[in-house]
Symmetry: C2
């Protein structure tokens, strides 16, 4: 298999979308005594790796990011202050909060890292709405747990008061569950396309985007849901015509037979082969599954080159020396 | 005095910066039973007035907004959940949260209002950092109260734990006070300039911007402060070369001798006259003062036409039929 010939021809003009995990930016802030600026230190490590690419001459970059731990904290703080603020903030608004918060942190740290290397480059964070289908079956069967644990009685009250769907979580009690529908369109994509064309680095699609549905009137309305950030990233990558779509994880490669004696890392693979392995159950839903599905959707949606790699070997991955590369054929 | 001759020549090509108050978007959410979507209904009213301008052919618009009530709520929720989350989020991050939250609401509602009128126009919210001077005397004498009230003993503990400055608030107890330094530069201004040149509507500078200082290394670091949104709006208006700077308030005009029998509305005034009235104490710090200072700073910074007007008469104000118009000479 020839590695990324199409990509290589473009040289430094390649457009790149990098999807960062929310955990890569997270601090365990139930612990006291941690520096108030801890998120910035952690984000700096991540940004150093991305700025390495800018330093190498790549300027057409979009950064997306997760928000799992952060939206969890904000949502829990809403619940814990129910008495002072009986009108709970809806989840679409909580996602918007995290786009502001994480967007600021990444933007600030990215710019500082560029400046420290003498690069006159800025990143810009934009609020992103993502269309989902009000008929998506996820709305009938919410599965993503969020927030605090409650007794059955409390759960029934909350369900009545706020319309929350509550589900039993093993022996720990009841918890709110929210739907995770499939993203269909990125509302602000024209802007991101224009930024890419102007070599302006965009931080967008935070937390998978703010979920909105289109009402009969044609208007967009935020809904109580969360969207998988890798799926949204793939959709966005297709929408703006990205050359290389990179999902960063804690692992250097995707593996076959992960954790078994026959374990084998994947370096290069066609999308058809990857689909086959996925159908055989190689990639569990709780770990590599969603990432594998996102890269498949990117290639099937017209993309030519996707990479799943470690944040700490991003540069090597782009050079073809690390990570799992998924190609069209 | 000739009304806005310079502006009139540009016709619909005028660039306009509109500063919205945080109260214009606020819901009293200590009350239960209010719709979860209340903010969107309120923002829709505000956006109808702005979209009227778009409908009239004005496309070069920047919207800034306050965040007083919203950042107050977020900050208070941090305080009320100190036990679960002992690491309190710094105020710069809380401001970033509100830029995400309010930015989303305005962007969503603006786009819906445009769509309902058949206008193919989108607004984009961007995270905005604003430079302040670490030597600003406001840091030595914080005056802006924020968050919950405490006993003297609790206040002393919080001061020790988080470094907060606590001040007695009449008879209600002790409260955290934060500095409100003067804004010096808008970090992302190049982007906003480019958007204006491309007829793309930008929602920026939320809550006066995220306050950052420049460290000796040259890096920008967020600080615990809040910036007056009208001052930041004036600075931004100058930085991107805005033709008409409009501050929207609850009042149709600025008045001389406000509330007295000699009360008189101001329709047109030169900046020199306005400065004189301000020096004579006509505009109190708690109400019209900061807005008057912002328009003075805009005109003295090179602007030619500023308006202080009511949100509900924005169109008339731009047509010279309402509002207080401040001109260079």
């Amino acid at each position: 298999m020839i590695f990324s010939a199409a990509s290589k021809n473009k040289g430094k003009d390649l457009s790149i979308l990098i999807a960062l995990g929310g955990n890569a930016l997270n601090v365990d802030d139930t612990q006291g005594g941690i520096s108030l600026k801890e998120e910035f230190f952690i984000a700096r490590q991540a940004m150093k790796n991305i700025v390495d690419l800018v330093s190498d001459g790549y300027e057409r970059i979009i950064i997306t990011h997760g928000n799992g731990p952060q939206v969890g904290r904000i949502f829990l703080q809403q619940e814990l202050t129910k008495e002072a603020f009986p009108r709970q903030t809806t989840l679409d608004v909580c996602v918007a909060d995290t786009q502001g918060r994480i967007g600021y942190i990444i933007q600030n740290v990215f710019n500082n890292e560029c400046r420290s290397r003498g690069l006159d480059k800025f990143a810009y964070s934009l609020i992103t709405q993502v269309l989902v289908d009000v008929q998506d079956h996820a709305f009938n069967d919410p599965t993503k747990p969020i927030g605090a644990f409650y007794s059955e009685k409390e759960a029934a009250e909350l369900s009545c008061k706020y319309g929350w769907v509550m589900k039993s979580q093993a022996k720990k009690g009841m918890r709110r569950v929210v739907p995770s529908p499939i993203p269909l369109d990125v509302i602000e994509k024209q802007m991101f396309k224009q930024m890419l064309a102007s070599n302006m680095i965009a931080i967008v699609g935070g937390g998978g985007g703010i979920p909105v549905v289109r009402r009969e009137s044609g208007e967009l309305e935020g809904v109580e849901a969360v969207i998988d950030k890798d799926r949204t990233s793939a959709l966005l990558a297709n929408a703006v015509g990205i050359d290389v779509f990179i999902i960063l994880t804690e692992s250097d490669y995707v593996y076959l037979d992960y954790g078994k004696i026959t374990e084998k890392k994947i370096e290069n693979i066609t999308v058809d082969e990857l689909v086959k392995h996925h159908e055989q159950g190689q990639f569990p839903a709780g770990s590599m599954g969603p990432k594998v599905e996102a890269v498949i959707s990117f290639i099937q949606g017209g993309g030519t080159h996707a990479i799943i790699a470690s944040l700490f070997h991003l540069k090597e991955a782009l050079a073809g020396k690390s990570g799992t590369h998924i190609l069209k054929e």
